[in-house]
């Protein structure tokens, strides 16, 4: 375990928390601010965590996936669309509609991943180009269908957006959620809980099962894996599609858990940032989750500072400007990629098509 990396992560998170506590302490007790920040951080880190897991499955098997952004966007749209169809057209109750929405989101993530797998494994297209194709295709399809289905006269919804069935309700973790103040952290929505569970499941699968061993073999040394009888192409296909499911669930976060609506380009670079989280986490699920929490904290700071706008001292006026505070995750990503916070090593065969 790389303790230095976790030290850096803890330090950055502590500094960002400290800023908000220092600004807000005269109005709200520090403990309340800290738990509120923690709860927000865990929630907004959800798509990043799932995106990073998606990257881990793909890249541990040797396929670079830069299309996570597009997979998330497509999943956000189709999940939302499915939930609206279920609710408004077929007349189901909100809860089953939302569940169908989540399933549709996961499936559309998988479908786009299948395309990426076919491009990079079967057709041996440059994987970064392949991922870009996925991203641009997702922007095009969601933009077109969004306009065609909702905003055109004579379309199925007659030119107005029907009411979405709402968002997934939060689940209180028994006992823990009843703890005063800190309980808020354990009052989270289902996709967030699933994401955290998937971090540990992925850790187990990757490092303690035969499947994980084979996946890593295919990503590190495909020829050796092939020699001992592992089907390289099949392993890669399977992992890329599992990765697509993760990205799909991450996409569901946007339209089924966060807000009950879709906007073109709403994923806003989260897919790319999650790749940075994956790299900073050195391609391990727990490391990537920790890195996602750093980005989550940066975003939580932006959200929580809104409550304390009037308390910000004039010298720190830039903290009032959401455009400037909003730059933090992007700059952090670039810093991480320089490797100055610790060198990382990708899987040896990452991005290299396997030729028999």
């Amino acid at each position: 375990m790389d303790w230095r990396r976790f030290g850096v992560i803890a330090l950055v998170i502590a500094i960002l928390f400290g800023v908000v506590v220092l600004i807000g302490k005269n109005q709200t007790p520090p403990m309340v601010i800290i738990t509120s920040m923690l709860a927000t951080t865990i929630a907004v880190a959800t798509p990043l965590t799932l995106g990073a897991l998606s990257g881990i499955y793909c890249e541990r098997a040797g396929v670079v996936n830069i299309g996570i952004e597009g997979m998330m966007l497509a999943a956000a749209f189709f999940g939302w669309l499915a939930s609206i169809y279920m609710n408004s057209i077929f007349g189901f109750a909100p809860m089953p509609s939302l569940i169908v929405g989540v399933i549709a989101a996961v499936l559309s993530g998988a479908l786009f991943a299948l395309l990426h797998a076919a491009l990079s494994i079967t057709f041996k297209v440059d994987q970064i180009i392949g991922g870009t194709v996925i991203n641009i295709l997702a922007i095009g399809i969601t933009g077109f269908l969004n306009r065609q289905l909702f905003f055109e006269e004579g379309s199925i919804f007659g030119g107005n957006v029907p009411h979405a069935p709402g968002i997934l309700p939060s689940i209180r973790v028994p006992l823990l959620a009843d703890v005063p103040t800190f309980g808020r952290m354990f009052d989270q929505q289902p996709i967030t809980i699933a994401a955290i569970a998937l971090v540990f499941i992925t850790h187990y699968v990757l490092f303690y099962t035969r499947w994980g061993l084979r996946t890593r073999a295919v990503g590190e040394h495909p020829r050796a894996a092939d020699t001992v009888g592992i089907n390289v192409a099949r392993m890669r296909y399977a992992n890329v599609i599992i990765g697509g499911c993760m990205a799909g669930l991450g996409g569901a976060y946007f339209t089924l858990q966060s807000v009950p609506s879709f906007e073109p380009l709403m994923t806003n670079g989260r897919g790319f940032i999650s790749l940075a989280a994956m790299i900073f986490g050195n391609w391990t699920p727990i490391g990537a989750w920790a890195a996602s929490l750093v980005f989550g904290t940066a975003q939580a700071m932006q959200i929580n500072l809104q409550f304390f706008r009037e308390l910000i001292l004039p010298e720190w006026a830039f903290l009032k400007n959401s455009y400037i505070v909003g730059l933090a995750p992007y700059i952090l990503t670039m810093l991480i990629l320089t490797g100055i916070i610790g060198k990382t090593t990708p899987p040896a065969a990452d991005g290299v098509p396997y030729e028999k």
């Binding site: 670079v64 830069i66 491009l119 057709f123 041996k124 297209v125 440059d126 994987q127 970064i128 180009i129 392949g130 870009t132 194709v133 641009i136 295709l137 922007i139 095009g140 399809i141 933009g143 077109f144 969004n146 306009r147 065609q148 905003f151 055109e152 006269e153 004579g154 806003n268 670079g269 790319f272 790749l275 940075a276 790299i279 400007n321 455009y323 400037i324 909003g326 730059l327 992007y330 700059i331 990503t333 670039m334 990629l337 320089t338 490797g339 100055i340 990708p346 990452d350 991005g351 290299v352």
Partner: protein
């Protein structure tokens, strides 16, 4: 006598080979466009439209009149610049997804030079100085914006794909900030995030009276030629292409690989900056938030469709410009939203990127060489 006959045969053989090679180079992009149009037609039919009417409207809107031709050229101009930017980076083995941010940053700087000099500083300049100043400022801004990820790539190994995307978001946030507050058009009637109009002296005139097509289009064609000249007729171009083809070999040949990487990105950003700056100085006469419909991303498809060759880029850019321009007429005639063009363009990108699909569909023989465009995280 026998010798000369032999020579003639070998010459005609060479010629035939060149012809076959260029046929082959053209065939795949052409088939890709055709297939994407067919698939797009299916999408249109599925969405309840008539594909034939839709494409007829598209063609009419793009080429049906002098005005349509002028508008197609107007649309093609930023596409040519941005397409050249991405293509140049590809030649140097770099994937510049950041053209969108570079052109936005270039547009902001060029608008600032355009309105602030006379409005705020009270300096009035003749057009012959003011235009080059505004255009040059925008170009330099774009170059700087791209040189940052270039330097990060060269000196730290940070992958340019993610860094250029991050620079896109940073540019977007910064322009939103600037255009909403310090640079916002102070006109009391204005509610949009946009700068004031640039001075008359900073405006590039139209090519013909009464049409919107401007000298920027001519400049784009000239710049395409210059990029070709740079890449194939100068030492720097040779170095860029060598680093792109094989950085290790370039290093042993004595080329300063790191410097070349930064320079390639800067030049690429310069071209992207031109795309933004020309939109400001020759067309909109101000910078407005969201003026770009994703030129920077379409540019990737244009560069790949044009096989990263300047001439190919110009042709692909005109095709994409024609589609965007004709789409309005298509929407008017058939109620198919213009967004369908994004789907068709994404399909074109998919099919040119995955040549193998086209070769499989049309039973074409595979080419031997594979062109490496980008590399993984290893740097």
């Amino acid at each position: 006598m026998a010798k000369s006959a032999e020579q003639t045969t070998s010459q005609s053989h060479d010629l035939r080979q060149i012809l076959r090679a260029s046929m082959d180079a053209l065939l795949v992009p052409l088939l890709a466009v055709l297939t994407a149009m067919i698939l797009g037609g299916l999408v249109i039919a599925f969405a309840g439209g008539n594909p034939i009417y839709a494409y007829l409207g598209l063609f009419q809107g793009a080429f049906g009149s002098t005005k349509a031709l002028s508008e197609t050229a107007v649309w093609a101009t930023p596409y040519i610049f941005a397409g050249l930017a991405v293509a140049l980076a590809f030649k140097g083995g770099l994937f510049n997804i950041g053209a969108e941010g570079q052109l936005a940053f270039g547009a902001v700087v060029s608008a600032l030079i355009g309105y602030a000099l006379p409005d705020l500083l009270g300096i009035s300049l003749p057009a012959i100085i003011h235009i080059p100043l505004a255009v040059g400022g925008g170009m330099l801004a774009g170059a700087l914006w791209a040189a940052i990820p270039g330097a990060l790539k060269a000196y730290t190994g940070g992958h340019e794909v993610i860094n250029t995307i991050m620079m896109n978001y940073i540019a977007l946030n910064m322009t939103s900030f600037l255009l909403n507050a310090p640079m916002k058009d102070p006109n009391p009637l204005n509610v949009v995030a946009r700068t004031p109009s640039i001075a008359e002296s900073a405006r590039i005139p139209p090519l013909f009276e009464g049409f919107r097509v401007h000298w920027g289009f001519a400049l784009a064609l000239l710049v395409a030629f210059l990029v070709w000249w740079l890449l194939w007729k100068t030492t720097l171009g040779f170095e860029i292409r060598t680093v792109g083809a094989n950085p290790d070999a370039a290093k042993y040949a004595g080329i300063n690989v790191k410097r070349t990487i930064v320079l390639t990105m800067a030049l690429s950003g310069l071209l992207a900056g031109l795309a933004g700056t020309i939109e400001v100085t020759a067309l909109n006469y101000r910078h407005e938030l969201g003026f770009s419909v994703g030129y920077g991303f379409d540019a990737i498809a244009i560069a790949l469709l044009g096989k990263t060759h300047p001439l190919g880029v110009v042709i692909a850019a005109i095709l994409f410009g024609a589609m965007r321009n004709g789409a309005t007429r298509m929407q008017f005639l058939t109620q198919i939203p213009v967004d369908i063009i994004s789907v068709i363009q994404a399909l074109i990108l998919l099919l040119v990127a995955a040549e193998a699909i086209i070769r499989y569909l049309y039973r074409l023989r595979a080419r031997e060489e594979r062109v490496v465009l980008t590399r993984g995280w290893g740097g």
